[in-house]
């Protein structure tokens, strides 16, 4: 597949494709090339798009029912034997509900289980707080051996799914929202800021662990200030990871866009993003605050 970034000149013409489609496509790509790949699903085949793999490779698709803890342990066993299992569910359930099973049977064993957490973030929308995973990056990022990828859109989700097998021999967490909007919001904010005379670099920090510290440092050394933007609690996610890196290597003022220590609620994705302070205006204001704090 084309490794080049799919960028368009006119941001207003960007199309929104469900990120989960990228996961489904990535699984099928992998299935064709690697017969060790098996896909497990806990009663959310269509919703996670793992049913695309099921249609093509029914013998390598394993249904678990509503049992995420078991899904993690079965996957650990399959990987222990020699398979490369993907476990598919909503992020609140996996890695939420089955966190300890992931820790003991997957991460501690350093087994190549790939965890796909769909419907992450607040933009799940009408389902409300129970289904809006806002702490999953924090849960996964503190586990040794675990890689954490947060792709920004459908194409990157497809790439991340393939990379989870081809670029990593251990466990990987791939987190994707139902509609990924924040990178797009950041790009639009940067465009508007540019018109006001403020030039901002937008970094798509798709891999939270290991964090691309070099790229971030090179940029912050130039701008001397940083804003992190994520659909996650501001503690424990990308913002924290960036802050940890900067405080050690190049302390700089940082503003955190994200959810500030509260649960989500029902609503349409766009209105929730606004209501929780992650809109374009919020990002612009955060940039201005960060600039003001520059020494």
């Amino acid at each position: 597949m084309n490794k080049e970034a799919y960028l368009i000149e006119d941001l207003s013409k960007a199309e929104k494709a469900p990120t989960r489609d990228g996961y489904g496509k990535g699984l099928v790509d992998l299935g064709e090339k690697n017969d060790r790949v098996v896909v497990l699903c806990a009663d959310l085949a269509e919703s996670t798009r793992s049913h695309w793999f099921k249609e093509k490779f029914p013998n390598r698709y394993i249904e678990l029912g509503v049992a995420e803890q078991n899904m993690a342990t079965i996957a650990a066993g399959l990987a222990n034997y020699g398979k490369i299992p993907f476990i598919s569910s909503y992020a609140v359930f996996s890695p939420g509900r089955n966190n300890e099973q992931i820790r003991t049977t997957i991460s501690l064993n350093n087994l190549p289980v790939k965890i796909a957490g769909a419907h992450a973030g607040i933009s799940v929308g009408p389902d409300g707080a129970t289904h809006q995973a806002l702490e999953d990056i924090a849960l996964m990022r503190v586990q040794p051996n675990m890689m954490v990828i947060v792709p920004c859109d459908a194409i990157e989700t497809q790439k991340a799914t393939i990379a989870a097998v081809n670029c990593c021999s251990g466990p990987v967490y791939i987190r994707f929202g139902r509609e990924s909007m924040l990178l797009y919001n950041a790009l639009l904010a940067a465009e508007e800021l540019s018109k006001e005379g403020i030039e901002a670099t937008v970094i798509n920090s798709h891999t939270v662990k290991p964090l691309d510290i070099t790229t971030i440092l090179n940029s912050v050394k130039e701008t001397k200030a940083v804003v992190t933007v994520e659909e996650h609690q501001t503690s424990g996610g990308l913002g924290s990871a960036v802050s940890e890196a900067l405080s050690q290597h190049f302390p700089a003022p940082q503003e955190f866009i994200g959810v500030h220590d509260r649960f989500g609620e029902s609503g349409e994705p766009e209105e929730l993003i606004e209501a929780f302070g992650m809109g374009i205006k919020d990002i612009k204001n955060a940039v201005k605050r960060a600039i003001k704090r520059k020494v």
Partner: protein
């Protein structure tokens, strides 16, 4: 009389089990922490597994065709370590490193540290799922090896275990055999007082398992059950092994207070003496 094992072999295994118990006591005294009752209760079964049941090669622990023995209740690992050392996986001397800094014999077993351990375990209820995952993968590839999963009785209070039991029953994983150490004790007391498990047999049957019950200290019965499980093609089998926690040392038998503590050195000496002279059944080789 068993069709599957000679009386002489049974006697040989019983004597070996006694030696494994002695190593266990030495191991625990040296470690100064760890579990005593559960490991003693499973000494006969682990000896039977490592010296008769399992198709394995201690010198080649990663042999792909080996039978897999998954230990779900990781806290009884000292008995697995003792049996493995006697089987030749590592020197007996290494048992003295149990629970010490830098050891391969972690307080709860870790796959990445000790070849032959198969899985990392300790947190209860998760072994059966891993065993079922291995069994499922092996069947996908038409592998002939068998998967055994040793579990405690009390871990059947954990929901994850029943999710796995449902999965194995639904998928007819006949290459999987569960072994339940039914010793009736757990940290807070007797299982039937803490959170009752009975009727355990009926529960497994309802999850589409073949269920056998044996005296966990009767090696012949246990071996017969293992062989019967191999002949069941439509279901996984679970062997509910009725055991006595602390078996072999009268002071420890049936006493749940011995669940999570090791013998003190003077107790250890006394227990070793008892094991070496067990009712005159076995002649002492050491004194």
């Amino acid at each position: 009389m068993s069709e599957y094992i000679h009386d002489e072999k049974v006697k040989e295994l019983e004597e070996l089990a006694n030696k494994v118990r002695q190593s266990l006591i030495e191991e625990l005294v040296e470690a100064k922490s760890g579990h005593t009752a559960g490991p003693l209760g499973m000494a006969d079964i682990f000896t039977a597994l490592y010296f008769h049941v399992l198709n394995h090669d201690p010198k080649n622990p990663d042999w792909p065709e080996r039978d897999r023995l998954i230990l779900s209740n990781g806290h009884i690992c000292p008995i697995r370590y003792a049996a493995m050392a006697h089987a030749g996986y590592f020197p007996l001397e290494e048992l003295k490193t149990l629970r010490k800094f830098g050891t391969r014999l972690q307080g709860h077993p870790e796959r990445e540290r000790l070849p032959g351990v198969e899985t990392t375990s300790g947190p209860l209820g998760s072994g059966l799922g891993q065993a079922a995952g291995i069994a499922y993968g092996a069947r996908m590839d038409s592998k002939k090896f068998r998967v055994y999963c040793a579990m405690s009785d009390a871990e059947h209070q954990a929901g994850n275990l029943w999710e796995s039991a449902m999965f194995a029953g639904n998928n007819k994983l006949s290459n999987l055999t569960g072994i339940v150490d039914r010793n009736n004790i757990q940290i807070n007391g007797m299982t039937e007082n803490v959170m009752p498990l009975e009727p355990l047999k009926a529960k497994y049957e309802a999850f589409n398992w073949h269920v056998l019950e044996v005296d966990g200290h009767n090696i012949e019965e246990f071996v017969d059950a293992v062989e019967e499980a191999k002949a069941i093609y439509e279901k996984p089998t679970v062997i509910i092994a009725h055991t006595i926690a602390g078996k072999g040392i009268p002071e420890i038998e049936f006493d749940y207070n011995w669940h999570g503590k090791p013998p003190k050195p003077e107790e250890g000496d006394k227990f070793l003496k008892e094991l070496r002279t067990l009712g005159g059944k076995i002649k002492s080789e050491h004194e």
